[in-house]
């Protein structure tokens, strides 16, 4: 079940739209890097993983031709397959540089990948992909909203501070804080909807936000619950970044 946003985005990827590839990398790059590091632990260094830049990903856009989202695969699985090809290609390139020394190119089905968990996404990976989508929505909101408004939201929701604290910090009143908060929340709901639709291939993926209490439909989740869910996701993201 593909919506227009998703098919439009995939079409841009297939058209080698570098901006689309960069968006993909910017949103899910850290998740992929973490997965690649997990696969390559002990075999490839952190530098190699970091070198897998968005340009590398964009250059590998041919691999997308082999995957048909309409066949029912999840976006996260599709992404993982891309990551696998990315790494395989990178290893090929590195081997090619040394060619002449008797080394052969890396196969896409290297046994060490399978030994490290294969290409099947685990729950941690699925969670990371979902958090990346929420982060993407937050980024869009940061861009759309006034700086002070977003800072109010950040302090109040993402950092969990009281309304009075926030009001004192930015030298305003608590009702103003509430108004600004509501403005950012509304924008976030809208952006979250867009992001979830754009980066989901299945209904199960689309409903992930709702399952985590961050439904973009205000009738289904109260503002407080929505804010709590976003705050929790953000804190989880921060904790994973610390690791």
């Amino acid at each position: 079940m593909l919506n227009n946003l998703t098919t439009g985005f995939v079409a841009r990827l297939r058209d080698r739209d570098t901006a689309a590839w960069f968006e993909l990398w910017e949103t899910f790059g850290p998740v992929l890097e973490a997965q690649l590091a997990k696969w390559g632990r002990g075999r490839i260094g952190a530098e190699t993983v970091r070198d897998l830049s968005q340009e590398t990903l964009a250059a590998l856009s041919t691999s997308i031709e082999r995957y048909d989202p309409a066949k029912g695969a999840r976006f996260s699985t599709w992404l993982l397959a891309i990551a696998k090809h990315t790494l395989g290609d990178e290893m090929d390139k590195r081997t090619a540089l040394k060619r002449g020394g008797g080394q052969r190119g890396t196969s896409l089905d290297e046994t060490w990948m399978g030994a490290a968990g294969g290409v099947q996404p685990d729950s941690a990976y699925e969670r990371a992909v979902f958090e990346a989508k929420v982060l993407k929505a937050l980024r869009l909101v940061e861009r759309d909203c006034d700086f002070a408004d977003f800072e109010v939201y950040r302090m109040r929701v993402l950092e969990g501070r009281s309304g009075r604290d926030v009001a004192e910090a930015i030298g305003t009143s608590e009702p103003t804080v509430s108004r600004r908060l509501a403005r950012v929340r509304d924008t976030l709901r809208e952006r979250l909807r867009e992001v979830m639709l754009k980066f989901s291939f299945t209904q199960d993926e689309i409903s992930e936000a709702e399952r985590n209490g961050a439904s973009w439909d205000p009738t289904k989740a109260a503002d407080v619950l929505f804010d709590e869910a976003i705050g929790e996701i953000h804190r989880a993201l921060a904790a994973s970044a610390q690791r």
């Binding site: 340009e55 700086f147 993402l158 004192e168 910090a169 030298g171 305003t172 970044a241």
Partner: protein
Amino acid sequence: MASLISILIFGVVGVLGLVLAIYALVQGIRGLIWLCEHVCRHVFGAIGSGLRCVAAGIVSVVLAVMTVLSVAVGAWSNARRLGRRLQSQLEIMLMTAYDAVLGHPLRLVMLGPVADELEHGFGPSLQATRREMHTRRAGRAGGPRGAGGSRGTASTKFPGYRIVGTLKGGGSGAKLYVAEPDAKTFDKLASRGEIVEGDRVVIKCFDSAHGVTVEQVVRESRSLEPARALGLVLDHDLRGGRFFYVMRYVPGPSLTELTHRMHSDAGAAGLRDDHLQSAVAMAGELLGTLGRYHSAGLWHKDVKPDNIIVEDGRAQLVDLGLMTPLRSAMTLTTHGTEYFRDPELVRMAMRGAKVRDVEGQKFDLYGVGACLYAVVENSFPAHGGLSSISKRCPEALRWVIRRAMTDLDQRYASVDEMLADLRVIGAADNAFALKPADLPSMGGARAAGDVFDGAREHVRAHTPVPSRSGHRLSAVEQRANARRRVETARARACARMGRPRQCMTPPFAVRLIAPVIFAAAAAWSAASLFYIPAFALGVIALGLAGAAFAHPPQRLTAVKSDGHRGMGGVTVAVVVLLGVVALLTLRPDARSSVEIDEFASTEHPLLTAVRTSRATGTAAVGAADASPALNGRLLVVDASPARSAPDRAMLDAGVTELRAHGYDVIGPRDAGSADAVAGALAVVGTRSVPGEGEAALRTWLDSNPLGVEMVVWDTGEPEPVVILAGNKPLALEAR
């Protein structure tokens, strides 16, 4: 059975024999090929060496002439440079001669060990020359690089600098060397106030031999001009597929190292108050530096902790590899360092935006915010502006970091705006008591004065300064360093303020004055009154001009400047040569010889015709000297009634000169010459039509009423004049 065994044995032996024969044949062919190769290599090697020896000899002769010429005109530095090249050529000549006469012949007759032993006895200089020759040859032949990095050794020589170490290179493929300038280079740089005694430099070298592309060199060189104006780049050179530029070496730890050190001191909770103040002060320094860059129209584009060196408590921004002019018409590139580069820059680059169409300075501010984040968190901002700050940090500082890293449109608009906020934090007694609302960008009051002094002292006290020998500097050395740097800063400020008089370097002044002196000398020489001192002055001026050309003002447009510098020696030689030729051409003797030629076409034996009063004296002297029989009187006739006062004075001076040479002269204004003048006046109008006037003059000359032996006839005309028409040349010697 027996016959079968025999057949089998014969068969086996036959096959073995065949195999052996084939083996022997193959080995024989291989030996033959080797022999051919050996003979060809050494025969052609000897011929090639001989040709190179001849070529080196020719070049040596040319260089020797140019060296002598440079010495003659006083271009000492140029002479030294040419001398070094001459020495190098002579060494090459010697080595190639040895190869042609001994090296290759000995090896040809399998006496390689003897040749090796002979070469072992060469001095270090000749050994080095030999290594370089072989490396160049290998490079030209496209063969493998010399073992032990000999090619690298050759390519790491930088004229004017001595390599003392290397630094870790970045992602550009360039190699970084720490070097010390030699005496001449030091003088040049110190005269511009760019380095002081004891300073080292960093040389960033892009060598095509190391896979560096032209695009990289172009990218690196595009900001050299403004970087040079800011004193960031001291020198540069582009030749032989290698481009390098020189910067001041900033000793000290990087901000990354310092951050790790501060966090290991402070513990897991985060930085202490003094650390935070230091971080704010360093960010302030950084912004000050970036402000200067932005004012000069430059965008650093790679602000990150690894590129910030803390020296004497001050944060110094290094690595100009990505520096870009803000008004550049080039397409934006995605170069930069992930996590310290705004993702928006990548998006813009992918849209094909031009550099001039984006606000580059705002991207630098993002870098500063990311650096501050890294210092506070001891980690990189993995989620850009949304990265959480979990460690101990004042609320106001968090605000500043986020404001610097937020969306491009909402970010600080300029360095000054961010600096104003940081100054308030730096000035606060308790930064934790500050609220974002107290910051100037949110309507709070600005801080006055340099609020970072105290924090800077703290950083200085806690930053180990590496000395040359690797140990920590003593307090006395640190004070001396500080004094030195103050002097350097003053000299740099002086240079930035348009080179006031005390900063003007002698070569620059000489460059300005020498052409004026030369022009004056040429005019003076042409006036012919004081030829010898004028000629001497002209030569001195040329020498000074040559010296000035030998030290041209540094221009940072790589290719242009390289051409300029490369032609320096030739330019000096050509200028000096042309100048000498010009002076010799202007020599009055030469002019007088022309006049004498004209004189030779006149008919009457007594008459010397000259064109202008300027040359009358010397022309007459020349004519008189050429006439061995002339012992009597000369009459100088002024045939131009409309002569100006200065010209008349010159004519009189010519008469004085004649008298000084011992001739008995009747001048135009002396008693008794009036008749002659009257006679002459009658002739002036007849010079082109022989007739009455000519006959009258001839009669007058024949009668010779004044008893003169020669008449110097100054017509005062610009065109050649033949007073007496006729085609019979006069032979003075016969008279």
